[in-house]
Amino acid sequence: MIEIENLSFGYSRKKLLYKNLNLSLKSGGVYGLLGKNGAGKSTLLKNMAGTLFPVNGSITINGRHPYKRQPSFLETIYYIAEDVYVPPLTIKKYQNLFAPFYPKFNIDSFYQYLRELEVDADSKLNRLSFGQQKKFVIAFALACNTDVILMDEPTNGLDIPSKSQFRKLIASVMNEDRLIMISTHQVRDLENMIDNIIIVDSGNLLLHASVGNITDKLCFKTVTEIPESARVLYKERTLQGNAVVMENTLGEDSKLNLEFLFNGIVENPEMAKQIFSTTQTLSA
């Protein structure tokens, strides 16, 4: 479980990016952290990982403070940065040197994930392409069986089949003790994979809701005419008519469209706040 209480953070104390952010994330969920470039997604992940320290407030992960970087805590969390670091080693040597630091590392799962992601297990890491290196890091992170996995833009550099394989892999490794947070600005990559959505923009938390809650509150559909009384969060003209995201006043079932949701929330944060205010804490 990740608890963020009154978090303030800025690269300069005079100019804070996050001010008094509150957020509570439960284990057993895959959280999608969405935001535009420069919205503060990586910064939030780094604060959770403990590679950046809050200016004020606190972050606890399963009751531990990340900034202390204690080994017993680091064994339970894996952070994948946006760019990839791999030493000039073979995969076997890497596993021999790094896996012993993670008590729950599962060697069979590791090679299985590598096979599923189509990474040659005999390769030398620095000779792999960026996408292959990224897949290797993802396979290693998942095999470590840590309670928390933080991924910063994990699908960057992956080809289309790999993105699909990545989604399947994440679904297969989820259990109720695990919490996976994936940040991305490529919202379509996360479709059908996440069960909770967090949207940030310029250090503000615009939305934190489960997929079920979102589809309860919002309706995603294509209409020929937009009802006058409807509160429309987002609309986009398509060949079939107007694709809209509007308040779900009639309790309709619809399929979440992450891209439209994201655009709607970022363009109309106040309306989104009003629609979701009955059940969710929205403001940063």
């Binding site: 590679t51 320290f53 970087r69 680091l74 940065a81 760019d83 670091y85 030493p87 080693l89 040197l97």
Partner: protein
């Protein structure tokens, strides 16, 4: 306690640190030994044994130690490698001990061992090639002696190593890119500032000041004569303690503090 130090984890970390970048660490050490061998061979060829000993020792040990110190914590050139290092499940104390063990202990042992072997081989070869019937045999024989590791020059080198390798270690944690160059500039700027401040302060007390050596002496010009006024012995002793123990200790301990507080 296990979160502070665990011997098994430290062993894993040590092994990982050496084998993760073998070309960088072991290759660099090998290169420094070769540099030392190069200097030694060059001067030994001309039978300049004193120069051979001094240059090989200072460039190999002090120079090599500084370069090695600047790379041992150089994980912060990219966000990914820096994060991977900070997130590795080992304590800051273990990471610090690992770094200083490699630079301060392992490199010192390897260098001194190599140096002794090199020195012994060259000098034995030289002695064996001397003509025992030559009238000047004793003189030539005594020209080359095994270099003692507890003489003035080695002691001075240990002091330089402790200070500059400490500065390089610390610099690599402050400057993410081109750490060695930026650290060298910072050290030079600090030394220039101390020298200038010392000179200006000395000028307040002496009208005919020629030059001033911090914590050591001032040189005065009296018409065409030069005179030196030494600092009191207790000041010199303080300066010795400062450069031999206090500054290195501050530098090496600050590395640990910086490592704990490092963000990326």
């Amino acid at each position: 306690m296990k979160d502070t130090f665990d011997l098994y984890r430290f062993t894993l970390l040590f092994k990982k640190t050496i084998l993760e970048r073998p070309a960088q660490l072991l290759g660099l050490m090998a290169l420094m030994l070769l540099v030392s061998l190069g200097f030694y061979s060059f001067f030994a060829y001309f039978r300049e044994w004193e120069a051979a000993h001094a240059t090989a020792f200072i460039w190999g040990y002090v120079g090599g130690g500084i370069v090695l110190a600047s790379v041992i914590f150089a994980h912060f050139t990219t966000n990914a490698s820096g994060a991977a290092y900070l997130m590795l499940p080992a304590s800051s104390l273990e990471k610090w001990l690992c770094g200083i063990s490699i630079v301060g202990v392992m490199f010192t042992i390897i260098f001194l061992g190599f140096y002794r072997l090199m020195d012994f081989s060259f000098i034995n070869l030289y002695h064996s090639r001397l003509n025992k019937n030559d009238a000047h045999y004793q003189f030539f024989y005594s020209q080359a002696q095994i270099f003692a590791f507890d003489g003035r020059l080695p002691k001075f080198s240990y002091m330089l190593f402790a200070n500059f390798a400490g500065a390089a270690l610390l610099g690599s944690l402050y400057y993410n890119r081109a750490g060695l160059v930026k650290t060298a500039l910072t050290v030079l700027a600090t030394m220039a500032f101390i020298g200038l401040a010392n000179y200006l302060i000395a000028r307040l007390f002496f009208n005919n000041l020629s030059s001033a050596n911090p914590f050591w002496s001032v040189n005065l010009q009296l018409t065409n004569n030069y005179r030196t006024v030494d600092a009191p012995q207790y000041i010199k002793d303080f300066a010795d303690n400062l450069t031999q123990f206090i500054i290195p200790a501050i530098l090496w301990v600050t590395v640990y503090i910086r490592l704990r507080e490092k963000e990326i």
